[in-house]
């Protein structure tokens, strides 16, 4: 099966980013939410109310559906650029469906 998202340009330098316990190679300086989608991540978090899975929805900082935990603080993935180093996790660890 084809991956859900395709990257048109592949030239950027890739850096290792830890997400939900796995190491992904993402383009440095790219939008984090876009880079995670292109790397095949669909579920970014689970809701605190029902534990329902969520992923990016608006990509412009308004909906807060793409929340991830970056080095312990909850941030909007669509408002962050990819950099080497941080440990990224789904905000509600322990919920069902922890697979990528």
């Amino acid at each position: 099966m084809k991956p859900a998202f395709l990257e048109l340009t592949q030239g950027a330098r890739r850096v290792p980013v830890r997400f939900a316990g796995e190491t992904l190679m993402l383009p440095e300086g790219a939008n984090l939410a876009a880079a995670l989608l292109a790397a095949g991540v669909t579920v970014f978090r689970h809701t605190p109310v029902s534990g329902a899975p969520r992923g990016p929805f608006c990509m412009m900082g308004a909906c807060f559906d793409c929340l991830v935990e970056v080095d312990g603080s909850v941030r909007q993935a669509c408002m962050i650029e990819v950099a080497e180093g941080p440990e990224i996790a789904r905000p509600h660890v322990g919920e069902p469906d922890e697979t990528l």
Binding site: F5, L6, L8, V43, G55, C63, M79
Partner: protein, 456 residues
């Protein structure tokens, strides 16, 4: 705290154009924008991206580079990655940038905060893989990331634009599931006279449709009963069109049935808003110059009422001229002389609006969703919940918060506010004006204690 003549929120077409015109008139300007690069959503990251994907995105996108270039003026301070969380009167603006909070002061404020997608609550719209069409465009513009198996759902010019861009990129959508009907087009035809003044928009629309058709993208019109199916992610779109039930498997769904003004900042300042029947949304009360009913607060571009990028540019410049006159940098005569061509350009660009608003109205099933459909994505409050609150005597959205937390999650009602107001209005037999909207209070974006502690 640095002091400026004019603080502008948003570096989209209205904000960038206003900044350039204000600086030219001798004002000191500070532009605060959430994104790392200027352009807003329409010209997102255009300076870097025009060379990479200008052919796919088209001239209506690459022309934004002339506006971003205009920000390089000695009198303009452009604060990128600056998230404004409070605007206090006469005017102190608090924001977070690079993990630290800071403040500036300004004589006048221009809110150029643009548009949000009109919320389109359909069964399954919270599943991962369902995004706004705007999000699809942002992915393509800023990141060069394209959905390989996407169904476009809804109606309106933006839906055709993203479809045409996907065709040009060699990854056409799987299908278009369009909600407008032939009746809508017939109703819109009455406004063709006005639309012919804005014929360039109609021509662009026809060209985009030709691109989509020649790529053999299936178009299903008059679609009803639309739902997104899937367990933990999007698997298919189901709907009925022309009496036949369809199920189209896909990984991604882009939703769109128009955009609405982003009124969050204006509401936090106490600007009054009225229901615009033609556009089915609340718009702030502003005069011809963008002056709101709160002294010193101006609004231009889509955040003042949807008009598109060209209208935003003219409106932004007009506001800048008005502020320059108020602060004694321009005579009223000179202001009016410079504003005249901007006003006529703006009115010409607005001419096709009544036709477009009626040809692509909001999707009825997303305006009055089934009881089980989630309305408040953050707190997972359904349409049925909201109707139950109404039955218990809930008259307005602020009361609805007390009944069941609708609008109290991190998005602060940005993607449920309109739906909650309209559902309550329908249930109570009241107008949207009488029903009202969420009271918006600062902080209008989340700020951490650590960031606050960094304030001097």
């Amino acid at each position: 705290m640095r002091h400026y003549d004019l603080a502008i929120l948003g570096a989209g077409p209205a904000g960038m154009a206003a900044a350039a015109t204000a600086a030219e008139a001798g004002l000191s300007v500070c532009v605060l924008d959430e994104q790392p690069h200027a352009g807003g959503q329409i010209y997102r990251d255009v300076e870097r991206v025009a060379a990479l994907r200008g052919d796919i995105l088209g001239k209506d996108y690459t022309r934004g580079a002339t506006l971003t270039a205009g920000l390089r003026h000695a009198a303009i301070t452009h604060l990128s990655g600056a998230v404004v969380w409070a605007i206090e009167h006469a005017f102190r603006i608090s924001f977070t940038q690079g993990g630290a909070a800071a403040q500036i002061a300004a004589e006048r404020v221009l809110l150029a905060t643009g548009a949000l997608e009109r919320p389109m609550p359909l069964p399954g719209w919270t599943l991962p893989g369902v995004m706004t069409a705007g999000a699809g465009q942002i992915l393509l513009k800023q990141s060069g990331v394209l959905a390989q198996s996407a169904v476009l759902v809804g109606s309106g010019p933006l839906l055709y634009l993203i479809a045409a861009q996907m065709v040009r990129a060699g990854v056409p959508p799987v299908a278009m599931v369009e909600t407008q009907t032939l009746d809508d087009l017939i109703r819109a035809a009455r406004h063709l006279g006005g639309a012919l003044r804005g014929w360039r928009y109609l021509l662009k629309g026809a060209r985009m449709l030709a691109e989509i058709t020649s790529a053999r993208v299936p178009r299903h019109t008059g679609a009803t009963g639309i739902a997104i199916a899937g367990e933990s992610r999007t698997e298919a779109v189901t709907f009925t069109s022309k009496g036949r039930a369809h199920r189209i498997p896909c990984d991604t769904v882009f939703l769109h049935h128009g955009v609405v003004p982003n009124t969050q900042a204006a509401r936090s300042l106490g600007v009054s808003h009225i229901w615009d029947r033609a556009q089915s949304c609340f718009v702030p009360s502003v005069d011809d110059w963008g002056q709101s009913d709160v002294a010193g607060v101006f609004i231009a571009g889509d955040s003042a009422g949807i008009g598109g990028a060209n209208v935003a540019e003219s409106a932004g410049r007009m506001t800048a001229l008005k502020v320059a006159e108020e602060l004694g940098r321009l005579s009223a005569t000179e202001r009016d002389r410079q504003a005249a061509p901007l006003r006529s350009a703006r009115n010409k660009d607005l001419a096709a609006r009544p036709f477009l608003d009626r040809a692509y109205p909001p999707h009825a099933a997303a305006v009055a969703p089934d009881d089980a459909t989630v309305i408040c994505r953050c707190e997972e409050v359904t349409a049925g919940d909201i109707r139950r609150y109404a039955a218990l005597g809930c008259l307005g959205p602020n009361q609805a918060k007390a009944f069941g937390r609708a609008g109290m999650g991190p998005c602060q009602g940005r993607y449920c506010g309109l739906s909650v107001s309209v559902i309550l209005a329908q249930a109570n037999g009241l107008t949207p004006d009488a029903t009202g909207y969420y009271r918006i209070r600062p902080p209008i974006k989340p700020v951490t204690l650590g960031e606050l502690a960094s304030l001097e």
